[in-house]
Subunit: 673 residues, 2 copies
């Protein structure tokens, strides 16, 4: 439908959509950066979605059963800011719109989760929103199965652009959604055939409808400027048993002379004269940031449309048993059950007594075996390495279209899609997701892992086979730099536990976290129990602690994590035998250690000793502990990896790469010379 026809046939819609278009153009113009092309192009689709379909109540943005709206094409952030403002979200004042992209504003360049209600997830890195949405839709199904359709029964809508669909993660997300038959996931594709570099054909000739069909989706194709067609397609999509993709043919920067339908219309590029022309085209004589009363009222009514539905929902919720209400509230608040601390302590005590030799990936399963039964909100999974990652506990069952009460997801060979889906589940609320792969494949999941940290969602990454200890699979599968990568990332707790006790402690911290993701770095190979004296206190919560005190006068401090702690203990034994007092400090989580006060840190790492750090990974970051906390300058060393690994049995690799107690002891003695 041409825009002039649209104006004639749908005058009320025309005005509502114009409000979005003009707001977007004005804000981008004022900021001298940002993207008006997409909001202008998709204004009709978004207007229909919000006016006719989206279940929400702007006055109650946290309503758990609202439909979720995800702007995957996050660069078009002004679209969502405009929608939130117009529908009356309290957070999104006109002042915020005026401050688009300025310091301290809720209206960041890309939508940032936590800045304002109604922003369900952080988008901008392309492909993330659509992939998060798969997690939202899975969470809805899981919670609906658990708490009943009366209280959980909503759709997840996504607006995605060409960029989202070209990114590889979209393939993983689409495949996962198709397999999982997520009938309440609806993706609106902004099919404008424009990318930053030019027309989409410059780089892509994919037939997107065919591609989605191949993955088990229902596909609809509509004119994205025809409100009735959009409405009908959304209605149809809501009634399928598969996820749906609606290809909305739109014109980028529609109605802006000179840039309409070109890559020039994408980002900040509109001159004053064009803005004026655009205002005329859209019959919008009002100055910037002024919305005429009839349009404002119309949009406010949309924002209030869901109020009665929400009240009905609240009545239904009140009809649940008190227990069920409490549990629902608990899981949405992200609180742990009171029993957690006790079951963890019990496990620790048992382990300290029995002192088994176990790989920490098995320790991780042992911890999950006691956590999962009392935290029904966990949903585990693995990227096709279930048996290796030890993520499947006895009580979980398989999450599938036929069994929404199952709590273990077979994500397939989709590390990135898994991570993005976990972000979505955590953001949805009510679910605490964890998922596993080999630690080396942190690389594949990185973009979503970063977003866990940036958004502050407590996803748990179960990263097993965390060093050359992986053995024969060789350097492609042996992490070297991956601890450094996660540690360099702000707001990420990296746990590298040394035995089952520390692993249980790490899990307790991970599932208790409300705003920080956790990376569990776990071994393939067996480790002996090093925490043989039971302590109720969670020592891992200190980040680092003295595991074995010096016997003779302290001359050496050995610092280690994970599988290298037992190497440090053996080195200590050798050194003490020669009368060299040696302390072993286990450092399962640097981030938590840094958060301790200076006095505690100094008590663990006092000056006046030489220091040797041992970790089967890259040195980067360790100098902070070797030299940075006022040790004897220059009297410290690192024993670890200086290159990629190799393919051979694990024990041999430790020998060949020189990560042994003999090397550690010798290194310490050389420093004392």
């Amino acid at each position: 439908m041409s825009l002039s026809e649209l104006k004639k046939t749908h005058p009320d819609h025309w005005k509502k959509a114009a409000a979005i278009r003009i707001l977007a153009a004005d804000a981008v113009h004022a900021a001298k950066s940002g993207h008006q092309g997409m909001p202008i192009g998709m204004a009709d689709v978004a207007t229909v979605l919000f006016e006719k379909h989206l279940k929400f109540d702007a006055s109650a943005p946290d309503w758990e059963d609202r439909d979720r709206f995800i702007l995957s094409a996050g660069h078009g952030s002004m679209l969502i800011y405009a929608l939130l403002h117009l529908t009356g979200y309290k957070d999104m004042t006109m002042e915020e719109i005026k401050n688009f992209r300025q310091w301290g504003a809720k209206t960041a360049g890309h939508p940032e989760y936590g800045h304002a209600k109604g922003i369900e997830t952080t988008t901008g890195p392309l492909g993330q929103g659509i992939s998060n949405a798969v997690g939202f839709a899975m969470a809805e199904q899981a919670l609906s199965a658990r708490f009943g359709k009366k209280v959980v029964d909503h759709y997840t809508y996504v607006i995605a652009g060409d960029g989202c669909l070209m990114e590889g993660v979209s393939h993983e997300a689409i495949g996962l959604a198709g397999k999982q038959k997520l009938g309440k996931l609806i993706v609106l594709w902004d099919d404008n055939n424009i990318t930053i570099d030019g027309t989409a054909e410059l780089s892509d000739v994919t037939d997107q409808p065919k591609r989605f069909k191949a993955a088990g989706w229902s596909v609809f194709e509509v004119d994205g400027h025809d409100p009735d067609a959009i409405d009908a397609a959304i209605t149809a999509a809501k009634n399928t048993n598969t996820p749906s993709m609606i290809a909305c043919k739109t014109v980028i920067a529609a109605g802006v002379d000179g840039v309409e339908n070109t890559s020039g219309g994408h980002g900040y590029n509109i001159k004053d004269a064009q803005l004026e022309q655009m205002r005329k085209f859209y019959d919008w004589p009002y100055p910037a940031y002024e919305i005429p009363k009839d349009v404002a009222d119309g949009w406010r009514a949309i924002g209030a449309r869901g109020a009665s539905e929400r009240q009905e929902w609240e009545a239904r919720f009140a009809g649940l048993s008190e227990n069920k209400q409490g549990e629902f509230k608990r899981v949405f608040a992200g609180d742990v059950p009171n029993r957690l601390s006790a079951v963890i302590k019990r496990l620790k005590k048992k382990i300290s007594e029995e002192q088994p030799k176990m790989a920490t990936r098995q320790s991780s399963q042992a911890a999950l075996e006691v956590i999962n039964p009392i935290m029904q909100e966990t949903i585990g999974g693995s990227a096709d390495l279930t048996g290796s990652n030890n993520t499947l506990t006895a009580d979980l069952g398989r999450f599938d279209a036929d069994n929404r009460k199952g709590r273990h997801v077979y994500y397939g060979i989709r590390e990135h899609g898994m991570a993005a889906a976990m972000n979505g589940m955590a953001l949805h609320g009510g679910i605490r997701p964890y998922g596993g792969t080999f630690m080396c494949f942190t690389d594949y999941a990185r973009p979503s892992m970063r977003l866990s940290a940036l958004m502050g969602v407590p996803v748990v990454y179960v990263m097993t086979h965390d060093s050359i200890g992986l053995g024969e699979d060789g350097p492609t599968h042996q992490p070297v730099e991956h601890l450094a990568i996660s540690r360099a990332t702000p707001n990420t707790n990296v746990f590298r536990p040394a035995d089952t006790v520390e692993t249980a402690e790490a899990w307790e911290l991970a599932v208790t976290s409300k705003s920080t993701p956790s990376v569990m770095s776990l071994t393939r190979q067996g480790l002996r129990t090093v925490r043989t004296d039971h302590k109720n206190k969670n020592m891992t919560a200190f980040g680092a602690y003295t595991l074995a005190k010096e016997v003779a006068k302290r001359q050496v401090i050995l610092m280690a994590t994970g599988s290298e702690v037992e190497i440090a203990l053996d080195a200590k034994e050798a050194l003490e035998a020669e009368g060299i007092g040696t302390r072993v400090v286990s450092m399962p989580c640097w981030e938590l250690f840094e958060a301790q006060d200076e006095q505690y840190r100094k008590s663990v790492l006092p000056g006046g000793s030489v220091r040797v750090a041992v970790e089967a990974g890259a040195r980067q970051g360790w100098d902070r502990w070797i030299f940075g906390e006022r040790g004897r300058a220059g009297r410290g060393a690192f024993v670890g990896m200086e290159s990629f690994g190799a393919s051979a049995p694990a024990d041999e690799l430790y020998e060949k790469f020189g990560i042994t107690s003999a090397v550690v002891a010798k290194t310490a003695k050389d420093l004392l010379k």
Copy 2:
């Protein structure tokens, strides 16, 4: 075709394929790890490919015009090791097969580039091989256009499994190949419906043939145990104008009782009795590692099949002009032209004289403008940020199906696919690829960037918008931990140049490198020229150097990279004004600085001064320079980022995050107290 039928109808093929199957089973059994299921399942397909189609000469594995064979499903490494051994590659002795997965063997757990001839790329991380292959096929087209079909005219074959096709990067690769109409790329999909966790349907219901067709590929479907059908499909695939996918329906671990057609057949799992039964099934009475003469001879003949074709090629090559021959040899050797040094010096001199203020992404383009005309082997590109990454120089033209002489690739929004394709181009030989995206999207390209480093291929990553200096796009687009990520990765040169002179030097080093990839960390924002005294010497080659000597007696050393060098210079000015002698050290490449001898390092960073490092990124790694090289312990500090960034104009962000010359000067003075 059932295997018993195959045995009857194709007795010679049967024996040849049995040799692969038994070798794979024996080697995995001996190593007690690895994967026999795929080599056994795909032995028929591989035998047909090598016997009937693959253009190669085992006695001349470096023949530039050989067909490339890529085992994307790298866990099935015994398939390629068996093929290389049987066809007579000198490197791949039976001794190596016997040492499968052992220390020092060429037969690593996954195929490692550089271990043995015939291994064209390192695979194992799933999806990489198929994506590298796109680069191989692009390189073939580019070189064919440049040097003529007489000397470059070959196919690229890939064996890929379900894992490769589920990974997101495969989507990017397939889309790029479809758009680029790479008719000489042929993917053989091991359609065995088994993944590690179970049947593929457990996690995926994608209709792969439909999916490939949607991306513009030709698709064939065959019985993977029917040699004639396989042969016919490959023949047909060779005659299309699009890339081809041949779905080969196979049975994993075929013929091994108890594990055939199950996920149990995938990896090491076969007991002695099963091995014995398998031998009977395949009529193979020979002990482990013994190949009967008739079978050995048959395979050797296949390995020698291409000798005459190679000789004909050599004759054709000899018919090229001497210039063309020399250029061909030069680009395949990866040598730079003699003129390179002179054009770089000329650019440096001009810049030092004119002292422009430029963003280093523009500086990068300025360097490329002088490099590209004299190095016709470069192929640039960008993941849909051409104008922002400044990768397109005047003379390149667009690489496309209609213009194979073009040298700039519009990769689309496919950072990962771009990186993988660049690896493929570099591995092919004759091409020196570089490609750009925003530095933050290092995350998306990480798995392939790691493989550049592991394989030692000198790809250049042009990473622009390298800090909060990116401004309004906000934290999703602002790298913080990304310098640390690349620096933590072995064998990676991370260049963060401070101005156009350093950028030109960095480019000279990057395009001269033969075995190390380079990451160029480049600003969005303008920087002033800091190298105002022209030096012919490439100072960036030292990694770090004294940019501005102390005037007063040295008390402070300021270390900085990139956009923060000018901040350090301003701080120095303020400190010197107060009589505090201050040295400014520019550190454009840590890795090269670490490679200098200790004497040089000490001359740049002598003891006895307080040290302040300034970089708009994470601290991780800096402590090495602040404390590690015997500075005054505890008397050093870092000025940089401690969190994610924010959305606002760049200058404001530098103020708000405290990365200013005033903060640096104050930090130094506080340390002197």
